[in-house]
Symmetry: C2
Subunit: 183 residues, 2 copies
């Protein structure tokens, strides 16, 4: 069984591969347009539709992933639009806004859509936390400003292994793994 993980992000692919050990997972680096949506499922659906349109072999299985960060003070924004907040106001701006509102609650979410034989199965991983002033290495998106509840280190301050144990991405991949085992 080969599953194609559609992503341009080698880190995400490697993490998925390390968890889904029993699966013949291959990276498919095609550039799919992301539609304007806060809802990850709709974004994933559109990406899968587009992937199928470009694929000749309709029997193939695909995975598409979407990550989001929702701020309480912004009533759910940026959600899946996080990329554009990073491009414009960045971690500094996200923290500033939280501070101005004095509301720091946030939720990190990772959604995976698994396509097989005309059906899409969705899985979610969630981590609740707080937005804090940037701390730690600044090499992975908003990791420096996200402090998961119950921890005193931001995602960026944790060693990779520690973060990967508790992250929303880990959770969603484990859910997918259990689903694939049952099949």
């Amino acid at each position: 069984m080969t599953i194609y993980f559609i992503t341009g992000n080698k880190n995400k692919f490697d993490e998925a591969k390390s968890i889904l050990k029993d699966v013949n997972l291959k990276q498919l680096n095609i550039d799919l347009p992301e539609i304007q949506e806060i809802d990850s499922r709709k974004i994933i659906e559109e990406k899968l539709k587009e992937a199928l349109r470009r694929t000749k072999n309709k029997k193939e299985e695909f995975i598409v992933e979407d990550a989001s960060l929702s701020l309480k003070c912004l009533n759910g924004l940026p959600g899946s639009l996080i990329k554009w907040f990073m491009h414009t106001i960045g971690n500094k701006g996200l923290y500033e806004i939280s501070k101005k509102y004095k509301k720091y609650n946030a939720e990190a979410k990772d959604t995976i859509g698994y396509y097989k034989k005309g059906k899409i199965y969705f899985f979610e991983g969630k981590v609740k936390g707080k937005i804090v002033k940037a701390r730690g290495k600044n090499n992975f998106g908003w990791d420096p400003i996200f402090l998961p509840n119950g921890y005193n280190k931001t995602f960026a301050e944790m060693p990779k292994e520690e973060k990967n144990k508790i992250s929303h991405r880990k959770e969603v991949l484990e859910k997918l793994k259990r689903f694939l085992k049952k099949k």
Copy 2:
């Protein structure tokens, strides 16, 4: 000459029709996915590509429009993502953020892409202004919080005729009109 204006918004279509009097303008209400972009031109390009994919007659001419609102305090956000800000924090939230930053400058922009024979021609209309506490009728997006520079009424407080004289949409449509006349 028939030009198809791809929009689900009857008001926008009527306004375009009233300005482009010499054109046989028809509304084409097809639902095209909007990609995640702050840049209107990229959104328009993708919409036109998708429209052409769905059209058999490649000789047809199309117009696609994209409106954006950029806040200085958010370094250009929401831009073309304005719809999602309206859905989540709304006019109230946009004003609140401006107030918290004490920066009220904003720019309203309307971009039109005109497709003919494999080429896209772009036109822009811009109005600079300030974000203010909502005033006036609340029936058209962010009109109540946008005070154009040099005026003491928000777009929502102006009679439709007055707004249509100075709006970014008026400007872009006039530019397109002049272009079509020259051809």
